[in-house]
């Protein structure tokens, strides 16, 4: 059996008495879209944080593309091909959308210790950035300042920034959070086009999105993964139904 792109073993993190992540094992195969769902407070964002390198686990191992990355900080993981988008929008509010994406391109396009040429005039940065903005549907808003973008547009920008780092694996933390029905629909369609071309780990509450996009789903409850399987399997799983206690599954 081929090694999984992302292998997590025994990941644990506690805040005092609260076990935010409790002995998590996870395998994510290359090319799959793997959703992580769970009731509020299950520890999904904490898990993403540890996978991305923003939080240090108390115990456990993470292997990415065959390499141990547990000790690596976030920038190093990004350079290895792991990108993340944030649940609470985290863009550069004073930069334009194009600047935002171009910076992500720059981060992976050779060396940033260049002191003289204006970065905004470098075609090798601007062209790919423009292309990505077109792809996510923000082409027309390239010159809008981040703070002036609508909430939905900012979420799109989040994805664009992550894409610009040419990742093998994308950690998407609630990409449609706070979006209206139309916007969500468009985002889901976009993510569906990404499927297969990139490996996606999707943390989401929106069940329509999850069941449309996911190849496999892992369910996180109180920091533990209680089930992993295809959408059909998860739907039928009695423990999962119990965990959600009447929530639509």
């Amino acid at each position: 059996m081929a090694e999984a792109l992302l292998e997590v073993r025994g990941l644990s993190k506690a805040y005092g008495a609260l076990r935010a992540t409790d002995q998590v094992d996870l395998d994510v195969r290359e090319g799959e879209t793997h959703a992580i769902i769970g009731p509020n407070g299950a520890g999904k964002t904490t898990l993403i944080g540890q996978l991305a390198g923003n939080l240090r686990p108390d115990a456990g191992r993470i292997r990415f593309a065959g390499e141990e990355i547990t000790a690596l900080a976030a920038p190093a993981r990004s350079r290895k091909g792991l990108a993340r988008s944030f649940q609470i929008t985290s863009i550069y509010r004073d930069f334009t959308a194009l600047d935002n994406v171009a910076l992500a391109v720059q981060a992976h396009a050779g060396d940033s210790f260049r002191f003289w040429r204006p970065a905004r005039k470098e075609a090798v940065l601007r062209e790919p950035a423009r292309a990505i903005l077109e792809e996510v549907g923000l082409g027309a808003r390239a010159d809008a300042v981040g703070a002036n973008l609508a909430h939905g547009e900012q979420r799109q920008l989040e994805i664009a920034i992550a894409l610009a780092t040419q990742p093998r694996l994308m950690l998407l933390d609630e990409p449609v959070a706070g979006m209206g029905a139309d916007e969500s629909q468009r985002m889901v369609e976009f993510l569906a086009r990404l499927k297969g071309r990139r490996t996606l780990i999707l943390v989401e509450h929106d069940m329509d999105a999850v069941f449309t996009l996911a190849d496999r789903i892992s369910v996180l409850v109180y920091g533990r993964i209680i089930a992993t399987g295809t959408p059909v399997e998860i739907r039928a799983n009695p423990e999962v139904r119990r965990a959600y206690l009447g929530e639509e599954v």
Partner: protein, 314 residues
Amino acid sequence: MGARARTVVLIAGLALLAAVPPVAALTGQPFYLDLFRRIMIFAIAASSLNLILGYGGMISFGHAAYLGIGAYAVGILAHYGIYNGFLQWGLAIGAAALVALAIGAVSIRTSGVYFIMITLAFTQMLYYLGISIEEYGGDDGMRLAARSRFPGLVDLGDATAFYYLVFAILCLCLLLVHRLVNSRFGMVIQAAKSNEARTLAIGLSPYPYKLAAFVIAGAMCGVAGALLVNHTAYLTPEFMHWTRSGEILFTVTLGGMATTAGPLLGAAAFLLLEDLLSGWTVHWQIILGPFLVLVVLFARRGLAGLLRGGGRDG
């Protein structure tokens, strides 16, 4: 448009500065030559701080240290009979850069309040070092043995020639900062200030870039120090006093942070204000203090900020 207005103001300001020597000669007021030369030297120092503070978000309360190091490099060499300007100013830049590297390496790993306190503490350390070395005047400082010499190029004893040299260096520094902040390097610096989490997430570690910026800023301020000691013809540890750091900080804020024209506007406004107030009363600081508080509370974006149209630096 904000950026255009600011560019116009900058060009106008520089043109005005270029016109000062002939005007001063015509009106028989050499005092203005002196005053504006001092403003330009301060603008260079402020510009260097603007790089790391305005664009980089690093609140360094220790920038006066580099002013002092540049000055002392020149003064000490002159004390021992070495008057060659290239050697002196080369040492000024090198020493300032080296000290900035040392202080930056330790301080930049910390953030927020710690950074402010640490940069302040290190400046104080250098100040105490300055006042304790009797050889170079200690507390009282000492006269500059002779001005820096650039044989065949420019005579710093000629007030007008010196003025235009400072002017040229100022223009160079403003250009340098402008190019730096818009380069790839500058993008990273601004990004780290705007959103550090985001910057880490896209694969950039801010530390080496911030350190480089800190060193560049220190070196540029070292140049200002070399110019200052030639201007005053007197070397004193007061150059490194922490209140001087506060003044430079205020100058950058008053002028408008993260703009090219800001440091120049700020230096002009601050020194002209100081000149005006000290003409009224010897206790002018009692007016300056509350003025500073008011500017912070109500005019935070500074003079260039008044011209800002909501866009980025032009």
